[in-house]
């Protein structure tokens, strides 16, 4: 049995997008939500079917399910459109469609009665389509195109409340930052295709391709290293890696389900997916680039975790947590080798991606549920919500335990593998990773205790539990957060396609779990009930605390650089040049044209007879010249 039906996984969401987009404002009631949900539901079903069929067959070879030529440059170089099925793309299909389906269902409750309901589901469908297209891309160029589509849908959804200036600014910020990163990606693609003559992942990642005669060097590094670094830059932009992370916290201006889908579970892991997709190439051709990946991942995970400890906006805490977790994944990819036990990091990274999608989506949906109830994002104005929202409370607790890495929840298994991989290669990274595990547990439970326990704040109206349509997806994700870790992930996904025997490194696990428990304990002490201790401790950190609270002033730094340096020293001279040299040149041309036309405008007198006179004279002259030529 073939895999041709997988094309429907992509077609259904785009059909939903077209219907909802064209019918925006005209569709009756909540039909647009159902159209989108049913479409993505069928996509999800087909994804599961694909997964069962693929993994059930036992072979982990790449399969091109669908392929058409889209652009043909010459005999060698052409751009295809198609669907590539291999373990990681199928894993991504499952993750994306599952989380999407949950978010779509949840959104029907969350967005009820909002203005632009149709538009919202149109954009969500577009996003699902783009993301699915991205993961099944058969070549770099298709990836790039869907990559941009994903960026566009993200932009549209962040700016969904376009009458809110903050949302507009955030959407622009996200778009500009990721575009900047994508420029690197595009250059990387061009370099790779120039040297290898292909865009195809199939060729690029084949072990034989590792002997591609790529000998050119640039600034001491091989061009392939540069190219892959540039590709990673694109990935870092999408995945909000330091220093291109600044857009993600602001992106929380979008509707919360959007944050859950795009900025937690799917789009932001596209960078990880991209590196994983090209992992054999990275590993063999550019180990240096992998070093960079590992370093950036490690730095980001620590950096984001520190900031997360200080924030008060519930969604921003989760956003920084996301950055931190993606940093984990990058770190794992960076320390991984190719093949066999060496490839543990690769498996771990994708495993974490898998589990993270569940509990982070759950966290965001929980946050959405909370915000839905209390109408604020600030955790200082929340407290004691466990009484009002028992279901959300339980599910949020599960997600927190999962992300903190407490067995037997999902996060424990994947995090343990990452730490084990880091431990085996780079001890420094291992120490950072373990530290971050503790920090993660701390800030997540800080959030948890403040929101659900803490002081009981007086609300203007009593918070209530969310409707079933919102809690049901959360429950399903909750189940996923519990059991996802039990999947024998290594036997399905490994760097070289040979099943990897997963086992738990007890030393590493014990240390990280102990640290996590310590973090939880501290959070419990500080925030279970209202106390002055956090205040005092933050005081004692002084400048460090304040800078962490301000996200280490990165936004300000960027503004300073763009305004102070780029605008003043680059843009202004360029503008001057444009106005006074290029425009002057144009004006000169215009003036010449003007002058010439004023000289010859007599020919266009509007006098019919003059025209006819000239016309007939011309005919006679042509006739004469023919006669002369035929003599």
């Amino acid at each position: 049995m073939g895999y041709q039906y997988t094309i429907w996984i992509l077609i259904l969401p785009i059909v939903a997008f077209v219907i909802n987009g064209l019918g925006s404002g005209k569709l009756p009631g909540k039909i647009s939500g159902w159209i989108a949900t049913v479409a993505i539901g069928i996509s999800a079903f087909l994804s599961y079917k694909t997964a069962f069929q693929f993994f059930g067959s036992g072979s982990h070879e790449k399969i091109i399910a669908v392929k058409t030529t889209w652009l043909r440059f010459n005999e060698g170089l052409q751009i295809d459109m198609g669907i590539l099925l291999d373990p990681i793309s199928i894993m991504m299909l499952v993750v994306i469609t599952t989380v999407s389906l949950m978010v779509f269902v949840y959104s029907q409750g969350y967005m009820k009665g909002e203005k632009g309901y149709d538009r919202y589901f149109a954009f969500l469908s577009l996003f699902s389509f783009s993301m699915l297209g991205l993961v099944v891309a058969t070549n770099l160029f298709q990836t790039y195109m869907f990559w941009e589509l994903v960026g566009v849908s993200s932009y549209l959804l962040i700016g969904f409340y376009y009458d809110k200036p903050a949302a507009v600014a955030a959407s622009k910020k996200a778009f500009i930052v990721t575009r900047f990163a994508d420029l690197g990606f595009l250059i990387g693609i061009l370099i790779i295709s120039f040297y290898t003559g292909t865009f195809d992942f199939d060729i690029l990642t084949r072990p034989e391709a590792m002997t591609l005669p790529v000998t050119a060097t640039f600034l001491g590094l091989s061009t392939m290293t540069w190219a892959l670094l540039l590709v990673f830059m694109g990935g870092a932009g999408k995945s909000a890696m330091f220093p291109l992370h600044i857009w993600l916290p602001d992106a929380m201006e979008g509707p919360t389900p959007v944050s859950a889908l795009i900025h937690a579970a799917t789009m932001v892991v596209a960078g990880v997916y991209l590196v994983a997709r090209l992992f054999p190439t990275y590993s063999v051709l550019a180990p240096d680039a992998l070093e960079v990946v590992a370093f950036i991942g490690a730095f980001t995970t620590l950096f984001a975790a520190v900031i997360a400890c200080t924030q008060f906006d519930i969604k921003r805490i989760l956003a920084f947590s996301t950055m931190s977790q993606i940093g984990y994944m990058m770190l794992a990819l960076g320390v991984s080798g190719y093949g066999g036990e060496e490839g543990l990091g690769y498996t771990a990274s994708l495993f974490h991606l898998f589990t993270h999608a569940f509990f982070k989506a759950l966290l965001f949906l929980g946050a959405g549920s909370i915000i839905h109830a209390v109408h604020t994002n600030d955790i200082r104005e929340m407290g004691g919500l466990r009484k009002y929202q028992p279901i959300t409370h339980i599910l949020f607790l599960i997600a927190c335990l999962a992300i903190a890495g407490i067995p037997p929840f999902a996060g424990f298994f994947s995090k343990d593998e990452i730490l084990a991989a880091a431990f085996a290669t780079h001890p420094i990274y291992y120490i950072i990773g373990t530290l971050v595990a503790g920090l993660t547990a701390f800030y997540m439970f800080r959030l948890y205790f403040i929101v659900f326990w803490g002081k009981s704040t007086s609300y203007t109206h009593t918070p209530h539990e969310s409707p079933v349509i919102m809690t049901l997806p959360m429950m399903i994700l909750g189940i996923g957060s519990v059991v996802a870790g039990l999947i024998p992930f290594g036997s399905y996904i490994s760097s070289d396609g040979v099943p990897l025997k997963g086992h738990i490194d007890w030393v590493v696990a014990t240390i990280s779990v102990v640290l996590a428990l310590v973090g939880i304990l501290i959070a419990f002490k500080f925030y279970k009930t209202e106390s002055a201790k956090p205040e005092a401790i933050s005081k004692s950190f002084g400048a460090f605390y304040r800078s962490a609270l301000s996200k280490f002033y990165f936004d300000e730094l960027y503004i300073a650089i763009t305004k102070g340096v780029i605008f003043r020293f680059v843009s202004k001279p360029l503008a001057w040049f444009d106005r006074n040299v290029i425009d002057a040149f144009m004006n000169l041309i215009a003036a010449i044209t003007n002058w010439v036309s004023s000289q010859i405008k007599e020919f266009q007198s509007g006098q019919l007879q003059k025209y006819a006179f000239i016309f007939i004279s011309g005919v006679i002259i042509i006739l004469l010249s023919f006669l002369y030529a035929n003599q």
Binding site: G606, Q607, L608, Q609, A612, F613, I616
Partner: protein, 105 residues
């Protein structure tokens, strides 16, 4: 007539007629007289078609039908042209070609 008058001579007639039409078209200022000149030119062309058809390709009738269709089109053209002239006269009280410059400036 075909036997007694050579083609060259009949073509001289049509040539003269055509260029008389050209002369009229270029010198006349009244739009109706310009239309008259155009009709003269069309007529000369029709004659040419008929003569070539009759002298050089007897029995083919191609020039005949060309002339027929030209006459039909000339009728359409004249009808529309005169409708325009009358409307023009109603609006600017003149059908002088040099007065038709309302759209200019």
């Amino acid at each position: 007539m075909i036997e007694s008058v050579p083609l060259n001579q009949v073509l001289i007639v049509t040539t003269l007629m055509f260029f008389i039409g050209v002369y009229g078209f270029l010198t006349r200022k009244n739009l109706i007289t310009m239309l008259i000149s155009v009709e003269l030119m069309l007529n000369a062309v029709n004659l040419n078609f008929v003569f070539f058809d009759r002298y050089l390709f007897p029995g083919k009738l191609e020039g005949h039908f060309f002339s027929l269709f030209i006459i039909a089109i000339a009728a359409a053209e004249a009808a529309v042209a005169i409708a325009i002239f009358i409307n023009l006269y109603r609006n600017i009280r003149s059908i002088n070609v040099e007065d038709v410059n309302e759209m200019k400036n």
